[in-house]
Amino acid sequence: MSDSATAAVPPQPFGRRLKRLMSDQPLIPLILLLVALVVALQILRPGIVNPAWIATTIKFAIPLAIFAGCQTMAMLTGGIDLSVGTVATMAAFIVATQGVYHDPAVAIAIALTPALVIGLANGIGIGVFRVHPLIMTLGTGLIGTGFLQVYQRTVIATGTAVPPGLAWLGTGLTWGIPNALLLFIPAAAFILFLLNRTGFGRLLYAVGDNERAAKLSGVQYWQVILVLYVLCSLLAGIAGLLYIGLIKSASLSLAEPLVLPSVAAAVIGGTSIFGGRGGYLGSIVGALILRVLITLLTILQMPEGARQILFGVIVLGVTAAYLRIIEDR
């Protein structure tokens, strides 16, 4: 133990200052980790980091990032939304099948209806009846899946038609830039603005940090939760529409594989599942990190088992490294 009897704070070495910067701007180290992964990829497969690959990565990261937006907002309140996969899949499947009969606007409206209904159900269950979000959204997800299966029986022989606008948005490029950004940038800006600059955003943090304190300040929990889950569901529905535009093949489990990664993206991005802490920019970078990681593993030639092990190791390693860098305690 050293003796520091003096009152003056000693001038800080560069390393400490850098660390301070990183902990104040947690996004920087996260982006550095992303870059490190991209560099690793380029080293392993020289030439892969080209405009086409970047466009693909962005296209596939966007639906995940929107999902991660839902998770981020829900997690800020101490919740989680496991029904996003079902909601998105329903929206996708319904728009592709209804697209046969109706013009795109109508098909989209029909496709988003279940999103609205499930969001309302989640909000009421969690906000009013205080059902644990995990159970509530798991339950509504199951129910939604059931309804989708029932619905599916009625459209076996109608064929599918993905609205061309969605396909353009999902897969198209303009000057090499994915058109999906046309949807994503405003959506992300909206979420960021919501979280950082609006009363509602403040309340998400407040409710998740200390519900009682929020209540004593006049916040009505159920209102916040209801709006939150409806919003999540609608975003998930929109992500589903975008996803069907990207994949162009309606399946009954289209977006389910995105659910766990979306939670992971938010957590990697620094949002706490216990509520009150985190933000959306981190989640977006988290989604990109996961997508790059998936490419990395796809490209590497090794047994599938080893690939999965490596995936786990890297996810853990990245998160641990990130925490080390940003913590200042």
Binding site: S4, D209, L216, G218
Partner: protein, 507 residues
């Protein structure tokens, strides 16, 4: 005071420092405690008292410094280790496991039940149910249990961090008695409190911290108070009433701000009636558990009454949510700050919280306006915002100020303060008294529950005393000295010479 025998110190800490990122919680603290001594650790809010206790007991690691126990240098890695070395703390926040019952809590820490029970009784809680879950036990009782648990293991050094702050006068009195006796029995005690009376009554010496450094060690003797305050704040503070009793208050025109009639809540609140006038600070005095929690709960909109009426500005109200009360301009500042604060959010967001509560305020925030409002409130309460990114990292006293600042910023017309000066240093207390008087002068009204009876005469216009869920007396401030209030609080009749209760609406 007992004469201090000069022997080798039992506990000797020197050069202790602790940095939390950019915040230096301690820079150069030293503390030396003799066997059998009750040693006060004093300092303004944020001076670093709690941090020192945490370091001494292994709850946090020091950045620098040496700690010797009976002459040997030691470094504690955990509270468990400190316990084994005979250092047993009662931290500023309750440490019972919330979801375990009392018995399990004892078993967990290996605390012998019988001595514990004996101490609990002695400390003024006669009918403790060991199978009660800690979460359901009121804060004051929890503090007592924490203390009894510490005492039951017969520590060499007992470290009490604001042990009495959340206690009503009767329980605080018991604590002092028991601690005094234990010290006589040979234990050393480190005692943190912002109440000079307690320090004077209990302690032998005091170490004073300012801005994380030890600035003096004094023997406690009559009149030393001034010197300590000087050391603590680097300035003098006088102790007088902030503003004269406002005779005009109760006679103000129009309906009272709040009129409570025959209010009842289950078995806790039987029949309470009083008025709170505009521009008045009304003191509420009660022993622990006399229904004050329920009364505040009803007025704040968190509890629904089972009988009686509440009128606000002459209009009958029935709140079903704190939002309803707030809409009527009634804000509640809970005594337990963990109930009021968003620990991981910034000072600014904490203060601005009520601005976003209503549906119509969910839209974009006017950041400039918010900034200005919040800064004004911070200024007005003189909040030390060095660690403002997370309120949790502020010292206890500064946290408490944030809870009040919120309603000052929101300009609530009525503030229900539940023991707001709990664990607040003298300097800050004065600021809060001044602030409340200022608000009153502007026509706001304040209902002020306090466990420190002397405060009544310092800031209130009247004292409403409840006992057993009923208003037993309403005293004008002139006669509401500690003796009179204590009598009343125990439900005893007023002494002959004082006049009749002049509170409006008392039955």
């Amino acid at each position: 005071m007992r004469a201090v025998v000069t022997t080798e110190p039992l506990l000797d800490a020197t050069g202790v420092a602790k940095n939390y990122g950019a915040v230096a919680a301690l820079r150069n603290a030293s503390l030396s405690v003799l066997p059998g001594e009750v040693h006060a650790l004093m300092g303004a809010n944020g001076a670093g008292k709690s941090t020192l206790v945490k370091i001494l007991t292994g709850a946090v690691a020091a950045s620098a410094g040496t700690i010797r126990i009976r002459g040997t240098a030691r470094r504690m890695h955990s509270p468990a280790e400190a316990r084994r070395s005979g250092l047993v703390p009662v931290y500023q926040e309750p440490s019972l496991i919330p979801d375990l019952d009392v018995a399990a809590n004892l078993r967990l820490t290996g605390t012998p039940v019988e001595p514990f029970r004996a101490f609990v009784e002695e400390l003024g809680v006669p009918d403790l149910d060991l199978s009660e879950t800690a979460r359901d036990i009121p804060l004051a009782i929890l503090r007592v249990l924490d203390l009894a648990r510490a005492l039951a293991v017969k520590p060499d050094v007992l470290l009490l961090d604001e042990m009495t702050a959340a206690l009503p006068a009767n329980l605080a009195e018991r604590v002092l008695e028991v601690v005094r006796r234990e010290a006589r029995g040979g234990r050393s005690v480190i005692f943190i409190s912002h109440r000079f009376v307690e320090i004077a009554a209990l302690c032998d010496r005091a170490t004073v911290l300012r801005d994380g450094a030890t600035v003096g060690v004094v023997d406690i003797a009559p009149g030393i108070e001034e010197r300590i305050v000087e050391l603590m704040l680097g300035a003098k503070v006088e102790k007088t009433r902030i503003a004269g009793p406002d005779a005009a208050v109760s006679q103000q025109a129009g309906p009272p701000r709040i009129a409570v009639r025959n209010l009842a809540v289950g078995t806790k609140l039987a029949d309470v009636s009083f008025d709170l006038a505009n521009g008045e600070v009304a003191g509420l005095v009660a022993l622990e558990g006399q229904g004050q929690d329920e009364l505040f709960g009803v007025l704040a909109g968190s509890i629904r009454p089972s009988g009686g009426t509440v009128e606000v500005d002459g209009e009958r109200v029935a709140f079903s949510h704190p939002a309803d009360a707030i809409r009527r301009g009634i804000a509640y500042v809970p005594g337990d700050r963990s109930e009021a604060l968003l620990g991981h959010r910034s000072v600014r967001e904490n203060i601005a919280l009520p601005f976003s509560a209503r549906l119509r305020d969910w839209g974009p925030i006017n950041m400039r306006r918010e900034q200005a409002t919040v800064e004004r409130a911070i200024e007005r309460l003189q909040i030390d915002t060095r660690a403002q990114r997370e309120v949790l990292r502020l010292s206890g006293g500064n946290q408490q100020k944030v809870t009040i600042a919120r309603w000052v910023a929101a300009d609530a017309r009525t503030i229900l303060c539940f023991d707001p000066t709990r664990g607040i240093d003298v300097g800050t207390k004065r600021e809060i008294y001044r602030l409340l008087r200022e608000l009153a002068a502007q026509g706001h009204s304040v209902l002020y529950y306090t466990s420190e009876l002397e405060e009544v005469q310092l800031v209130c216009d009247r004292a409403i005393v409840i006992f057993g869920g009923r208003v037993v007396d309403i005293l004008p401030v002139a006669i509401a000295d500690e003796a009179a209030l204590t009598r009343a609080a125990y439900g005893l009749a007023r002494e002959a010479e004082s006049g009749p209760a002049n509170g409006a609406g008392a039955p």
